[in-house]
Structure formats: structure tokens, C-alpha cells
Symmetry: C2
Subunit: 214 residues, 2 copies
């Protein structure tokens, strides 16, 4: 209930992870799961799981644990959009291709319908399972294929311009993997991920642990 209220970002992330795990379990013919089991699989607490499910208004009814199939369904109703959303990868270097292949095991209503690059070797070929379009045709293609989400994997010096472009063409959400931090209008959702930052964070805590534990 109160499903009209936006969920906290952290909860959305965990719901996505719950679903990933639950789908795996379904494939293994498991049908019910307790909050503490699901929690253990993600190394979080059972309370957190129950609280997240409370937020999406899901209730097991009984103390037989959660019906996995039903729960997957409920999570989908909350985090997926009914009609599905179309996604494009902008920049088909190593990272773009990597992202494309991650999409194969995808679990939501997201459709990877296009990729863009400026390399003639790539244009009009199917790469990692997705057709690559000439980046010059981006405006037309984004509108034709009704693409609302872009994954940005272009080289850093192209990031700002490309971002401004796709926003003009009507993109509503961007996952930015470049090392450039972008600015978008308030009605466009932007999520940024810098892998070097993640590595430096790991290094920091390794260093600190080494200091205290030898």
C-alpha cells in the first residue's frame, strides 16, 4: 500500500537483487523462502528484507515463508513498468559490449533494442546480441524505437556532448559509466558509476585493514 510513493533508492536496488536471487531459486525448484534465508543469500539482515517487502505492500499471509513465484511477480509489478521500457547502449567499446552481454540474463521488462557507435566496422552489425546503429542516426533511432533509457559507455571526451544530445532526443534515464560527471535536467534520472572510484575504495579499506590486522 502507498505504492504511489516513490521507494527509497536503496530499497529499489535490493528489490532488484531479491528478484535475481529468487529467479535462480525458482530455477532450482525451490518454491518458498523465509526472510532470513533470503537475507543470508545477500548478507543482509532478515529485518531489512521484511521491511523492504512491507514497503511494497507484500505479505506472505502465513509463516510458511514467502511464495517465491508470487514475490517475484509482486516485485515486478513494483519496479518494472507495465509496457516495458526500451534501452540503448551508447558506445560499443569493451564496456558497451560487456553491458550488452550482461543483458542476456536479464530479469525485467527492459528491452535492449539498440546500440550506437561511430566505428564503420561496427555500424549495422549485430554485436553482443544487439544491433549497432550509426551514432549519427541517434536522434531518428531513439524516436523510432521509443528508447527512454541510455547506458553511456563512450570515451570520456565524448561524454558531455553525447549526454546533452540524448537528453535533447528525449531520453528519460541515463546510466553513466564514463569518468565524467554529467549534468541533466531535473526530469531526467541520472545514475553514475565510476569503477575506478570503487577500486580506490576497496584499496582504502584494504590498507586500513592491513594497518590494524597486520
Amino acid at each position: 500500500m502507498m505504492q504511489n510513493m516513490k521507494l527509497p533508492g536503496k530499497t529499489v536496488e535490493r528489490l532488484s537483487e531479491y528478484r535475481r536471487i529468487l529467479l535462480n531459486l525458482l530455477a532450482e525448484k525451490k518454491n518458498y523462502i523465509y526472510s532470513y534465508e533470503l537475507a543470508a543469500l545477500l548478507h543482509i539482515t532478515a529485518v531489512q528484507v521484511r521491511r523492504d517487502l512491507m514497503l511494497i505492500g507484500y505479505s506472505s499471509g502465513a509463516r510458511k515463508g514467502y511464495d517465491i513465484r508470487e514475490l517475484v511477480e509482486t516485485i515486478g509489478r513494483i519496479i518494472d513498468s507495465e509496457e516495458g521500457l526500451n534501452v540503448a547502449i551508447v558506445g560499443m567499446g569493451n564496456l558497451g559490449r560487456a553491458v550488452a552481454s550482461y543483458f542476456r540474463g536479464k530479469r525485467s521488462k527492459l528491452n535492449l533494442v539498440a546500440s550506437f557507435d561511430n566505428d564503420p566496422q561496427k555500424i549495422n552489425k549485430v554485436i553482443s546480441g544487439v544491433k549497432c546503429f550509426d551514432i549519427k542516426t541517434m536522434e531518428q533511432t531513439i524516436r523510432d524505437l521509443n528508447i527512454s533509457i541510455a547506458i553511456l559507455t563512450v570515451p570520456p571526451d565524448a561524454a558531455k556532448n553525447t549526454c546533452d544530445e540524448i537528453v535533447r532526443y528525449g531520453i528519460r534515464g541515463i546510466l553513466n559509466f564514463t569518468t565524467v560527471s554529467l549534468k541533466v535536467p531535473p526530469d531526467v534520472y541520472l545514475e553514475e558509476y565510476d569503477m575506478i572510484t570503487s577500486i580506490e575504495k576497496v584499496a582504502y579499506f584494504v590498507k586500513e585493514n592491513l594497518k590494524t590486522q597486520g
Copy 2:
């Protein structure tokens, strides 16, 4: 002051981002920066910047803004380890190669010294700037090259075993890019990133925005 206390993870992440930006600015011959300028570049608040710098005990002394060179240096003293740490990429598929190339513009004392794969085509070649070793030699190589950080980019079904292995071989920090959530002993630092989760998060907020804004 109090530099022996571990910093919050969020602060560490921002420090890494400050440094990335500051290094770019240095390259453009900018020498001083105000907190609000740095904040604007990352779309955060100036208070946050000042608070983070307070936590690492850095003080500009004057109202001329921060001396960029000095600040970069200070951040390095806090988040880098003095001798540098050696890093390996485990799994040289698309994602592994992408990560390797991100390392080129690296800004810290981290050294990418090895990668591992089981594909004979790759073994003993230099790929994306880093030598690829036979994954069978991992134990020896990790010890020989004193590798303490691993970036895990193997296929999902290999994730758990590979993780247990590298932990046995003495790895102290792992950045896990597989879709499998791992378990490590408490003295090993684990950071997990699931890009499908990020995409699903973007999709959720796009959907919500579309609901309220049409």
C-alpha cells in the same frame, strides 16, 4: 586529525572523485578552487565538500580557496597506501578488458600487474595493457607479484569458486562485478556491483517520473 579512524565509505568515494576532478583541473592550469566550485562539478553541496575535507584534516588556511596541488596530495596521503597496492583482474572477457583500459587514466598508487583467464588464446599475451596469466597459475602469481586486490569479472558460475580460491591465496580486497553475491571472511574487504541492478534502478525512477510528469 584522527586520521587513524576509518573514514565513512561515502566520504572515501567522494575523495576519489574530488581527486579525479582536481587532476583534470590541474591539467587545465587551474591552481585554486573554492568548495562551491568543486561541489558544483560533482553536483553536490559545498558543505559536503568542506565536511569531507575536515574529516581528512585538510585546511586551506586562507579564503583563497583550496590549493589544488596540495589537496590532491593530501587526498593521496589519506586514501592511497604508501607503497602502493597490486591489483589483478580475474577473467578477461569484455568486462575484464574494459576495466583494464579504465586503469590507464588511473590516478592512484594502484598497479594493475596481472590478469587471469583460462582461454589459451589469451594466456601469456598482453591484453588491454596487462599481461594475462593462466588462471591455473593464480596461486603462484598472486604470491609472486604480491597482489592484494582482485577485480572479479569471471562468468557467474565460476564466481563462488574463484572467490574462495583467491581468498585462500591471500587476496585482501575484492571488487565483484559478477551477478553472484559472495561471502568472504571478515578480514577481506568486499565491494559488489551489479550493473543490471543499476539499470533496473534507473528504469524504476524513469517509470515513476513518467507517472507524475507525463
